[in-house]
């Protein structure tokens, strides 16, 4: 594990992208396949299981050291992290010297850590203490982090794929694709991941393509272009999804790479009518049969996370897949084709299907309409209509563009109604006052900093309906990690889209940003905390004059 600990330290210390990629590549190249696989899973945040709570480790530390609890808590308040606090306090434990323990990362992850978690209280404490005594300097922190599931490195997934590309000689896009749909850390998975294209084993049929992502619109990039070169669509207020039909099976993936088939049985049924080797990119929504527009995010929430929904729910909140791109047809990868051709093929496919099935089942698959745009002057007016059709803004996609991997600026733009929006992670909650005195209704949210840590960004009090508040209150009570007086820190797992009117630089805030009128737009159960926004996206909003202009207009 020393090599991995060294890598983490190197990543922490090097500021430059090139140095970080080199460090990653060197490590992945040198590591045994099984260790490399685990390093990769950890770096990509794909493995973060909590085996022992931070509270339990704290208890072991307190019992052995005899430190008063309040002093431990003062230390924690200064450090901000239990795993690190304990690592710094180890000398207080006066552990007997032990021969150094050096095990491979895979051994720790596959054998030793799960074994520790399975032990009973007394035996567990002794085993943890023995490990603390034997771990070389610098590994205790990592060990505590891995054990409590809080491990996170401040390295963007893009840098990891770049390093993998250096190691394997494969294209970054190919690697990003191979990493989609989950990566189960094992030597075999690592070898398959890095295998040359020609002798690579057949890809799992479930594997989705990396989603092409849009950037917030920068109008100055458009002004010089011909509006006819762009496909304009509504930006739907649902969740992004990929529908795969291959070899007689259906896979519905959320953008967070979760398989959500079980929540949407009616879409599974619809997908059976698709030809084998078809992959659609689109938006999951709830859309009542006779309604002119989707039912909004609230009803969709009722469907998300509900496995095997009952007949009543299916009737009240029927799902629809609004298709806007065709990524694969006849088992051919269409992504290199220009959007204009993919669109033609998509229209044909949707029409065929709609003609083949009777209404209302036809409503299960809808085509995202292309909106007419004669000149750029019409763009604002068009965007203002978004709300009236249940959309949250506009999408602009370059007609001659291939389907990109991840966020490729300039190919897809989003032009939202809300002046500013970010997805943030719930960090702290505090009880409200008056009527809501018994409920946790005051929330503090964080964004990712460049080092993979969540930094407090905004507080918000409003935006959820009563049933959501109640549900979140229960969740908060079950997932409290620490208490600071009336404030509870919670597991950083829940993502919320926050809307706000403006941003300002501020030295008084830890994020360096003050947020104007933040409010919760929606609870993003479809999002994993890793997919939440970063401080750098907030800074990009701050520096984007277009966003500021639209704020002034409102």
């Amino acid at each position: 594990m020393q090599a991995f600990a060294d890598l983490i330290q190197q990543l922490e210390r090097s500021a430059g992208t090139k140095d970080r990629v080199t460090a990653l590549a060197t490590h992945l190249q040198a590591a045994e396949a099984a260790d490399g696989a685990w390093a990769l899973a950890l770096l990509l945040g794909k493995r973060r299981r909590r085996l022992i709570t931070g509270r339990r480790l704290r208890q072991i530390c307190l019992e052995r050291s005899g430190l008063p609890e309040w002093l431990f808590d003062s230390c924690h308040a200064q450090v901000g992290d239990s795993a690190e606090t304990i690592a710094l306090l180890l000398p207080e434990l006066a552990l007997p010297p032990a021969p150094p323990l050096e095990l491979s990362l895979a051994t720790w992850m596959e054998t030793r850590l799960p074994a520790l978690a399975a032990l009973e209280s007394e035996a567990q404490a002794e085993a943890v203490l023995a490990i603390w005594a034997a771990l070389p300097d610098g590994q205790c922190f990592l060990f505590n982090k891995l054990l409590t599931g809080g491990f996170r490195v401040g390295v963007a997934a893009g840098l990891v794929t770049r390093a993998l590309a250096q190691v394997s000689g494969l294209e970054e896009a190919e690697l990003a694709h191979r990493l989609m749909g989950g990566f189960d850390p094992s030597a075999a998975a690592m070898e398959a991941l890095l295998a040359p294209i020609e002798d690579g084993a057949a890809a799992p049929i479930s594997r989705p393509y990396p989603f092409c992502l849009a950037s917030p619109l920068e109008p100055e990039h458009l002004a010089a272009t011909d509006p006819a070169g762009w496909q304009v669509e509504w930006k739907w207020d649902g969740i992004r999804a990929q529908l795969i039909r291959r070899s007689g099976q259906t896979f519905l993936w959320s953008r967070g790479e979760e398989l959500i088939n079980a929540s949407f049985p009616e879409l599974e049924g619809m997908a059976e009518r698709l030809e084998p080797g078809t992959v659609l990119d689109g938006e999951l929504t709830v859309w009542l049969a006779q309604a002119p527009q989707p039912a909004g995010f609230g009803p969709l929430q009722r469907r998300l996370g509900r496995q095997k929904p009952g007949a009543a729910l299916l009737r009240e909140c029927p799902a629809a897949f609004i298709a806007y791109d065709l990524l694969e047809r006849g088992a051919q990868d269409l992504r290199p084709e220009p959007l204009s051709q993919r669109r033609t093929a998509l229209e044909a496919l949707v029409q065929e299907l709609q003609e083949a099935v009777a209404t209302p089942a036809a409503g299960l698959l809808r085509l995202s309409p292309v909106l007419p745009l004669g000149s750029w002057d019409e763009l604002q007016a068009l965007r203002q209509q978004a709300r009236s059709v249940g959309a949250e803004g506009l999408m602009l996609k370059a007609l001659d563009s291939a389907y990109g991997v991840g966020r490729r600026r300039g190919l897809w733009w989003k032009h939202k109604l809300e002046p500013m929006e970010l997805d943030a992670v719930l960090l702290y909650a505090q009880a409200g006052s008056g009527r809501r005195a018994n409920l946790y209704t005051d929330y503090t949210f964080g964004l990712w900093d460049g080092d993979g840590h969540l930094v407090t960004f905004a507080k918000a009090y409003s935006g959820l309906d009563n049933s959501e508040i109640n549900e979140l209150d229960r969740w908060i009570r079950r997932h409290t990690t620490e208490r600071f007086g009336p404030v509870r820190a919670v597991d950083p797992l829940q993502v919320f889209t926050l809307g706000f009117e403006g941003l300002q630089r501020s030295s008084r805030h830890r994020s360096g940003l003050a947020v104007r009128f933040p409010r919760i737009l929606r609870w993003r159960r479809d999002r994993t905390p890793e997919s939440a926004d970063s401080l750098s996206s907030a800074l990009a909003l701050l520096e984007d004059p277009a966003a500021q202009r639209s704020t002034a207009q409102r």
Binding site: E12, R13, S14, A15, L67, P68, W70, L71, S74, C75, H76, A77, Q78, V79, G80, D81, A83, E84, T85, L88, L89, P91, E92, G150, R152, L427, G446, D449, D451, H453, L454, V455, T456, E482, F484, A489, P492, R510
Partner: protein, 349 residues
């Protein structure tokens, strides 16, 4: 909590005051007579009528407070009579010329620790344990997470950090008075004979150290270097206030590091925005504080600065000592050299 109003040492708006000696210790505002523990800006302020301080600290004090100040230099351990009181200065091991001040009057002895550390430091005299009935101690790093490694070891890491980047300038940020010279002395002890470049703020403090006979590598102010001369592979020491200031424009792709006790915590390292943080302090760590309180043998302890509440509570509840934090008066008196970041807000990591 304040000091008793009739004690040997009292807390006044100007700072700690000894009526028997009619003198203040490290006063915050101009007073007639000031006993100075050391030259850091939060302990030595200009405008007092008369000063007493350790002779080896005289050069720094005159430079910072004015060459014309009425300053009486005192040797370590030398006993002075001031009014009704006997006053002596004892080495604090903090920086060149730093002292703990011991005051006896009637049948009572008080010790004001000033800033101190117990670790080896080739740039100043070592800490001298002193007994007293009442101790006023600092607690800048009064938490058990702070535990220093030997300065020589940290200096060796800094040396390899510097050596491993021969193609970039190495910018090391350290407090200008004390830390910078301690690092230079440690580097000299590691065999460094190569010239080190200095920011102006560090440069002004070199003369007192050289005349005190501290062994240091050759140094030169950066400003004396011809414009355009390559700084690749050079070590430059500057105060933390120069970080991200226009002064940095001179350097092409420098690697940066900050040397401070606060760097023991990852969160503090990240927030400060330096590539590297080296944990090295001229203040006592947790063990150093406890050891010094023990060595002093005082029946009553007052705690100032940093985690004063926590250290006092620990001494009271875990060691059975009469110990109290000395109020908020000391908070906010810190300058750059004793910089407090305050308790960090909890973060999720």
């Amino acid at each position: 909590m304040a000091l008793p109003g009739d004690g040997l040492i009292q807390l006044t708006p100007q700072g700690l005051y000894c009526p028997a000696a009619d003198a203040w210790i490290d006063p915050w505002r101009p007073v007639s007579r000031a006993l100075i523990t050391h030259g850091h800006a939060d302990h030595a302020r200009p405008g007092c009528g008369a000063y007493w301080a350790v002779r080896s600290g005289e050069g720094v004090l005159r430079q910072r407070l004015g060459s014309g100040i009425a300053l009486t230099g005192v040797g370590y351990g030398e006993e002075l009579r001031l009014g009704e009181a006997l006053v002596s200065f004892h080495s604090a091991g903090h920086v060149l010329g730093s002292a703990q001040i011991r005051i006896t009057a009637g049948d009572e002895t008080w010790l004001i620790s000033g800033d101190y550390k117990r670790d080896d430091d080739p740039s100043c005299a070592p800490f001298e344990p002193v007994t007293a009935d009442v101790l006023i101690t600092e607690a800048t790093f009064g938490l058990p997470i702070y535990r220093w490694r030997p300065g020589r070891q940290v200096a060796a890491e800094i040396l390899s950090w510097w050596r491993e980047a021969p193609q970039r300038p190495s910018l090391l940020f350290a407090y200008a008075f004390g830390k910078a010279q301690r690092l230079l002395a440690e580097l000299a002890a590691l065999g460094v004979e190569e010239e080190v470049l200095l920011h102006g703020a560090v440069q002004t403090l070199m003369a007192p150290y050289r005349s005190a006979g501290v062994v240091l590598p050759p140094t030169r102010p950066l400003s004396e270097l011809p414009r355009g001369e390559s700084l690749a592979g050079r070590l430059v020491i500057a105060p933390p206030s120069a970080h991200r200031s226009p002064w940095m424009k001179r350097f092409k792709a420098p690697q940066t590091a900050f040397v401070s006790g606060w760097m023991a915590v990852r969160g503090a390292r990240r927030r400060r925005g330096f590539e590297r943080g080296f944990a090295l302090s001229d203040h006592a760590d947790w063990d150093g504080l406890l050891r010094s309180v023990h060595d002093c043998g005082a029946r009553q302890v007052y705690v100032t600065h940093g985690n004063s509440d926590g250290l006092a509570r620990f001494l009271r509840e875990e060691r059975g000592l009469a110990a109290e934090p000395l109020g908020r008066a000391f908070v906010g008196q810190r300058s750059e050299e004793g910089e407090l970041e305050g308790a960090a807000a909890p973060s999720v990591a």
